[in-house]
Symmetry: C2
Subunit: 632 residues, 2 copies
């Protein structure tokens, strides 16, 4: 393991304020490594069957990884794991920033938080010490204010604060965790779990930076990254993830007006170049990263003014608050982003929920009587902003929307379910199954609902595939397939890259920096990274099996809750034709997708009827104990 690698897991029982430190064995670290697999290990072990996601019996687990805090791009990631109040499945979400590296330097690899504090508290970790502090005076504060106040209180201007905003306090089901007021563990409502525990924040500060087992090799890898970042990641550096707006529009896959279209006429107004040439104030970075993909925007005039403290919108946000809602006003989208970061809400689910409500409104299922007088039609920028603010405060119509679109549809009825664009009750991210067909499968089978960072999206044209082939070959994936097919080879592509991304979220590195295709570093280089960091003779085989192990553990968690194949259901929308643009009339084929599901479960080694791993499969992954816990 890295020198100075903490090897320490903090267990917090908020009900009685008890803090305990566990030091797992090196074998444990090698088997579960960190991130999502480690989080799921504790979720399986410590969350009882049938736990209420918002009850004290749920556990919120924050985990780092074996390379967190080392001086190389993409190292600083934190995974949050808990049973999700949005999806009811296991929840899982990653974020970057400086918090993860700082938490490692403070002496902790992971934090397992159980129970419920009788009053609001925050956790303060510093140089190996851990303490709970009163947070009554912070409750209700937006993230920027709370962060400043905590730093002042602990007298550490460099303390990093991972926290919830008012949305998490009020149990908005897609509330996020946020650090630096800009980096969100966005998906699956981890902020509501933290809020349900009366925990406002986890502040960290430490001075023990980890040191790699092989510092020379690590330096060599880091140098390679710096030397290659411009040629491999130039567009990401220049435009950030916003660059993807144009790419998806060109492919007919920019989700528009609640996924009724893949083409947004006004896409240029919310594109990377427009942001660069108008409101961009500066580029921001996570700890140690050479890419600097994060955006900081500032708007001082007009109806939608934006504070650079809250960063700037990512691609997902430009789409979810922009094209999903038919909104092309970049300032409004940026302010919407700020509201989400202030209140602590996932921009994807927030925007997806607003877009769904807009369609309901346009189709007459909602009226101004429902919306508090707001004319909630597509393209109404101010309405979008208003809805976000009401959601964050759970005020007015926002209180219902704060439940997420799936629960809101159940509440409203009137056929509004047919406008849902969700899997496992989680709103789709900004990538279109009708354009990249494996998404139609993976959004449904992914154990925590629709997620865009759980596998490699289908390469949607031959040139990009060629560029990816070298990396994919190391996974045995080198045969190009016809566009928009969902044959067995495409299912294999989806499953294998799902294992790869599952590994990335367990090693806990940034999926933009490390990965099988377009990323700065390849999967083979990831092997080198972990060898350099830990001194272990890891192989890519070991790492992909680690990813498969984590994926199976997640499915097993769900199986214990009775959640299985019957719940892996894509929404009606993906079978409807898209309107306009390149993708005009494209729709997914039900029979082809049904076959793909069968193939997927069988390829995964799961029972085809239930989509659940059996005891032998879990044993094949070295986790037979999971079968005992889950009762398989």
């Amino acid at each position: 393991m890295p020198k100075g690698y903490a090897g320490r897991i903090l267990h917090v029982d908020l009900t009685n304020g008890k803090l305990e430190i566990e030091q797992p064995s090196e074998a444990f670290y090698r088997k579960y490594m960190g991130g999502s697999a480690m989080g799921t290990y504790y979720a399986l072990r410590d969350i009882p069957k049938g736990a209420d996601p918002l009850g004290p019996e749920n556990a919120l687990i924050l985990t780092l990884g074996p390379v967190t805090g080392l001086p190389i791009s993409g190292n600083s990631r934190v995974t949050a794991t808990a049973r999700s109040p949005l999806t009811d499945t296991i929840g899982d979400s990653q974020a970057g920033g400086f918090w993860p590296a700082e938490c490692k330097a403070a002496g902790f690899d992971g934090i397992v938080i159980k129970g419920k504090s009788p009053k609001p508290v925050y956790l303060w970790l510093h140089d190996g010490e851990a303490e709970l502090r009163d947070a009554a005076h912070l409750w209700g504060k937006v993230t920027g204010e709370a962060e400043a106040q905590i730093r002042a209180e602990v007298n550490e201007p460099k303390a990093e604060v991972l926290q919830i905003g008012p949305a998490g306090e009020k149990l908005v089901r897609f509330a996020c965790l946020i650090n630096m007021c800009t980096r969100a563990n966005g998906r699956t409502g981890m902020g509501a779990v933290m809020g349900s525990k009366n925990l406002k924040a986890v502040a960290v500060r430490g001075h023990q930076r980890p040191e790699a087992a092989d510092p020379d090799k690590l330096r060599e890898l880091a140098r390679w990254g710096v030397e290659n970042v411009e040629v491999r990641m130039g567009a990401m550096r220049k435009y950030g993830t916003a660059n993807t707006v144009g790419g998806n529009q060109s492919a007919g896959g920019l989700p528009t007006r609640n996924f009724t279209s893949g083409s947004f006429d006004e896409y240029e107004k919310i594109s990377g170049p427009t942001m660069l040439n108008t409101i961009l104030k500066e580029r921001d970075t996570c700890f140690g990263c050479a890419i600097r993909c994060k955006r900081v925007v500032e708007i001082k005039d007009g109806p939608f003014q934006v504070d650079p403290l809250y960063g700037g919108p990512e691609y997902e946000t430009l789409a979810s608050l922009g094209s999903y809602c038919g909104v092309s006003d970049l300032a409004a989208v940026s302010l919407g982003n700020q509201i989400c970061n202030m209140y602590g809400m996932d921009t994807i689910s927030a925007g997806g929920t607003v877009a769904w409500a807009m369609e309901c409104y346009e189709k007459g299922a909602l009226t101004k009587a429902d919306t508090g007088g707001i004319d909630l039609r597509f393209g109404n920028a101010a309405a979008m902003v208003q809805m976000l603010e009401w959601m964050g405060k759970r005020e007015g119509f926002g209180d219902l929307l704060a439940e997420g679109s799936a629960r809101a549809a159940t509440e409203i009825g009137k056929g509004t379910e047919k406008y849902l664009v969700t899997c496992h009750k989680q709103e789709f991210p900004a990538h279109m199954p009708r354009v990249k067909r494996t998404l139609g499968l993976i959004y449904a089978v992914n154990p925590f609902g629709a997620d865009h960072m759980s596998h490699e999206h289908d390469p949607n044209y031959e040139e990009s595939y060629e560029g990816h082939r070298n990396g994919l070959s190391s996974l045995g994936l080198a045969d190009p397939q016809p566009p928009r097919s969902l044959n067995a080879e495409k299912v294999r592509f989806a499953l294998t890259t799902q294992w790869a991304y599952s590994c990335l979220d367990t090693v806990n590195v940034c999926d933009f920096v490390w990965g099988p295709t377009w990323q700065l570093y390849s999967m083979n280089q990831l092997v080198e990274l972990i060898r350099a960091a830990t001194g272990w003779s890891v192989s890519l085989y070991e790492l992909i099996k680690l990813g498969e192990r984590r994926l199976n553990m997640l499915r097993a968690y769900n199986a214990r809750e009775g959640i299985d194949r019957k719940d892996d259901v894509p929404p009606q929308r993906i079978f409807e034709p898209l309107e306009g643009g390149l993708s005009d009339s494209w729709a997914m084929d039900r029979a082809e997708l049904a076959q793909a599901f069968d193939t997927y479960y069988e390829m995964a080694g799961w029972d085809v009827a239930t989509g659940t791993p059996g005891r032998a499969k879990l044993a094949e992954l070295g986790v037979e104990w999971v079968a005992d816990i889950v009762g398989l």
Copy 2:
């Protein structure tokens, strides 16, 4: 691919004498690589369902690999693939020597031989050219004579000759292919297949040595091997595989008197040190190998005189002709080895068959009336030698034994089946399931019958496990298990290392030199080797999946012939207690083994009822076409 890498497959139709050269794509090479996977590809494609193993419709496929002929240890291997006349399953066997490297230099990566020549012929490959030559005058000659004559005829003293002896000509069911008169593709009766085609030999000579894509990296790896060979492989260098006699005796696992005991009182007389100190003439090597594990012995006096032309006995032979038969006369064993090499017979099946007959004789099921007057009791060295010679010539009682023990037992009846020590009709190699329990599983499930080089045997004491752990960790196998257990973790160990060895036999490197545990080089170094040789960015994930692909293709081949789980049956003997020594009274447990079978098939992703991969599993391995061919 390596510069000068031939990329050429020779297709031979012996019925009409037609020779064709195929040049497969690089993608084909990367998917099937060489060796056994490539051989099985052609077997599935070119051998029709229901083929008679000894009929012209069978194909005999000889394949090299991506590193064959490169200047590094363990590179020079040839795999033979055909439907087996011994096991009725797909047959598969590897050999080393100089032939493989020379075949590569002659311009061929593989040879697919179909049909049946109207008269005896041999194939002569030289510098990219291929021709069939008359072999009528060679038919009936022992290997040493035929080799000398062929070299003279082609006027190439450095030509290498892979051939059959009289046993192959006479369709002895365990006849082997042999090159250098000492290197045998021993198992599964590939020599009988070649004999059935009237093909005496494949002689090769060429001058185009392959060059690695990264010669510096290859040199570095080769140098590492030379520098580490003494410390890692010292005992193998000094004693050859004969060193294993003492090791297995100490562990209670030296198969003795037809596997009724694991302890041979006189083991020292046939041990590595005894050979070294008495009859060893010199050490021999395969092309480019630093280990020099091969033995050459010479005996000029006494009743059992031995010609160094035929090398010396390996561990397997010392056991099969020695302890299996209760014979401790090293000279007799060495002469038996010579007879097998002269006539071209697998020493394991030959010795196993004699040992079985000896038990039948001792137990009264055979008498001198059956054996041609020979007193065929355990320990009768001269009788063992006589039986081998008769088998090779199919004379007298040897004609029946030439069918192998399983068919002979069926012929004889009288309860002799209960003394069989076979799986899929193939005699056990010299490793004991009752001592290393995963062998009880793998001998039965291996697609071509009992084989000792298809997985990593259970480490049988804690120290050796510790020494192996670093290599096993790269396969995710690091948890020691209780000795003689066959729990799910042990099954996982067996299956995962089976994939690893399957990869080794497909890359076609020597399992003594490259492998997951005790070998000179690790699996991670194998990745480096293939990268250096080919320039491909291979990963261990890709290689292990390659091994899994090959194993699934073999099982699929058998499924087409109706051979499946019902045929994966271990013999009664492994459930009987061993007699004497450390392993006294050890027996395998039927219930535990039955559970291990279920676990194994499920872990492998196969139908548990049939032990056969389905379409989705084959597609997951990138070979969905196999499902079409096999009808799955």
